[in-house]
């Protein structure tokens, strides 16, 4: 087990290194002219040249990459040769000259919004998905099963932005059941009531798609476990049905689902772009869209890096958890 953990952690470090390289190549070398992207249509050659220098795009790519990575570990200084150098302390993910802010500062400001959005959505969809999935499996072939699976099919067929828009239309604009969602700083603790009013629809929007998916997953998984020999053995030795279902079937059947859900959560934490866009939440997803529309390359680079790193780390955590929780998984 210890050897496995060490190997996996080393693999993760290698992957994170490759990630920085890929992100750097994608966003620093791929653009036809990164400096051109730093200012709008009315842009004089002098300004572009100046920005090229400020963004350190006038040095060789290898050196650019070195500074990029060095920034993450020991920080870096922009505009060294000017009267007012810009200190960006480690971990420095870059500096947005477009907004005159450090990329990391913008990310940490937006992160709590995405965090609460993702956690709430996650809890909602897992509860709905697991409960209804188990019900469908236990009532296989009956009307309960068919109803749940029918709802699930529609649920994951509807694009999430359509669900969000319809919810917004009816609940907020037509029936006035909730006020227009508005995130204010200090949420959720400063104003819990308003927090729930703001987040309820975004949570439902995120939950719909995933809950539908997890209903199906749970149902199939539980049905598969019901076919296993040890469940038959448990029944054969006369255990009450309740014990067979809860202790034998569900525990083994749900473990892979719960761990897989960890990965989906990691994806969400990188920014629930569509949901944040619909409900106007200032999270990482909105920050990402804003940076793309403004062609703010340092910011795009930073967000992509953080989101991808989250997924890589979550992947490792999930795999390790899986090895610990499920007695059938052997690692060596």
């Amino acid at each position: 087990m210890a050897g496995y953990v060490v190997r996996r952690v080393l693999g993760m470090v290698l992957l994170l290194f490759l990630l920085t390289l890929t992100v750097f190549v994608l966003f620093s070398l791929m653009p036809a002219d990164p400096a051109r992207l730093t200012c709008g249509k009315a842009c004089s050659p002098a300004i572009i040249e100046n920005n090229r220098h400020r963004l350190e795009l006038d040095i060789p790519p290898i050196e650019q990459y070195q500074r990029f990575v060095a920034g993450i570990f020991v920080g870096r200084t922009y505009l060294k040769d000017t009267a007012r150098p810009l200190e960006c302390e480690a971990p420095c993910l870059g500096y947005s000259f477009l907004r005159n802010q450090e990329v990391l500062a913008m990310i940490t400001k937006a992160a709590p919004v995405t965090f609460w959005l993702a956690i709430g959505g996650f809890v909602t969809w897992m509860v709905i998905g697991l409960v209804f999935g188990v019900v469908a499996a236990l009532k296989r072939g009956r009307w309960q099963d068919r109803t749940v699976m029918g709802i699930a099919l529609v649920g994951y067929s509807l694009p999430s932005f359509f669900i969000g828009l319809v919810l917004f239309f009816f609940v907020v604009l037509i029936w006035h059941l909730l006020p227009i969602p508005q995130w204010t700083s200090g949420m959720p603790f400063a104003n819990p009531g308003k927090f729930f009013q703001t987040m309820l629809l975004p949570w439902i929007t995120i939950a719909t798609l995933n809950a539908a998916f997890y209903m199906r997953l749970t149902r199939n998984q539980v049905l598969e476990v019901f076919g296993e020999d040890y469940v038959r053995t448990a029944r054969a030795k006369g255990l009450p049905e309740r014990i067979v279902v809860v202790k034998h079937a569900l525990r083994a059947g749900l473990t892979p689902i719960v761990t897989a859900a960890g990965l989906d959560l990691a994806y969400l934490l990188g920014g629930a772009i569509i949901t944040e866009n619909i409900f106007n939440l200032p999270g990482l997803g909105s920050l990402a869209i804003g940076s793309v529309l403004a062609s703010d390359l340092p910011l795009i680079t930073g967000i992509t890096l953080v989101a991808a790193a989250l997924i890589i780390v979550a992947n490792l955590v999930v795999d390790l958890l899986y090895a610990v929780v499920d007695p059938r998984v052997r690692v060596g």
Binding site: L15, S157, F161, F169, G270, V292, L297
Partner: protein, 309 residues
């Protein structure tokens, strides 16, 4: 007993599934409309680009007739501010959505299958290298990366000679969706190939001195059709929805061209006054994706030897 090929068995099973057949006809209809709508449309007086100033008010551009200006001339109403015909926009947009989703699916499946077969059959360091590469690609959040690369790569695509505007956006969407979408299928294929590799018929082919290409694509590939088809049926609806989501976020086609997602994004500004702006494109999109998914489900059951009816 008469021997039947896999295709015959699957088709016979599928034909007994009434819901699946309905979905199949709906999808065929969608594709026919997508292909022929923009060809035959102009002779019926449909034009998604023509402004109809008479159908909208001079102040604010609100459609004159109720329900978004539904009339004999404009069966689904007109666009706020320009008076462009919404039925035409849907027809032309449907074609773009289907082109993007279908081409991207074909490309994804091709890349995924080829790389999956190679990784699974070669094993060793090739497999290891491809495996790490897949981990890397999978680490990128899909929507974010498509969004993030849109400006950067569209410029490159234009530099390759693709006309700027809508064509370059379409090429971009297809490319980037495929390039970041293949590892899921490649993993599945790789797993299958690893078990197939040890089977007798492959051994026999090796013993007879078949070339590696023949072993990979003539011996092994035909055994992979079931998982490939199943995965394709998952990809198509996912990519239709995905294209819509990207257009909704503004990285899809650019005006005057439009697709479902762009129309829905536009509807947000007006849907209090004209709810049908939201519900007509949304419903048509939803029917398309639901049909894909239902047919996919049925196809999966039909391909699964364990399912008995």
């Amino acid at each position: 007993m008469v021997g039947r090929s896999l295709r015959q068995i699957v088709w016979a099973r599928l034909r007994r599934d009434r819901l699946a057949m309905v979905c199949l006809f709906v999808l065929i209809a969608y594709y026919l409309i997508g292909i022929f709508g923009p060809i035959l449309g102009p002779s019926l007086g449909l034009d998604p680009y023509a402004f109809d100033r008479d159908s909208i008010s001079n102040q604010g551009g609100r459609p004159v007739l109720p329900n978004g200006g539904i009339s004999g001339e404009h069966p689904l109403g007109v666009e706020w501010g320009t008076g462009r015909d919404l039925l035409s926009q849907l027809l032309w947009g449907l074609r773009i959505s289907l082109v993007v989703a279908t081409t991207a699916t074909l490309l994804t499946v091709t890349i995924g299958v080829v790389i999956g077969i190679v990784a699974g059959y070669a094993g060793g360091w090739v497999d290891l290298l491809i495996g790490r590469f897949m981990d890397l690609v999978l680490a990128f959040p899909f929507i974010l990366i498509v969004l993030a690369l849109s400006n950067v790569l569209t410029d490159r695509i234009i530099a390759f000679g693709v006309p700027p505007g809508t064509p370059s956006r379409i090429v971009y969407l297809i490319l980037v969706i495929s390039v970041f979408g293949w590892p899921y299928l490649a993993r599945i294929v790789r797993g299958q190939v690893i078990s197939l590799r040890e089977r007798e018929f492959v051994e026999a082919a090796v013993a007879m001195g078949s070339s590696r290409r023949r072993i990979l694509f003539t011996e092994i590939l035909p055994n992979l059709w079931a998982p490939i088809i199943v995965y394709t049926t998952l990809l198509l609806p996912a990519y239709v929805g995905f294209e819509a989501a990207l257009s909704f976020l503004g990285v899809g086609v650019i005006p005057p061209d439009t697709t479902f997602g762009a129309m829905l994004a536009n509807s947000v500004n007006y849907f209090v006054q004209v709810p049908i702006y939201l519900f007509i494109p949304g419903t048509i999109l939803a029917i398309l994706v639901v049909s894909f998914n239902l047919l996919g489900d049925a196809l999966r059951d039909a391909l699964d030897p364990r399912v008995t009816r």
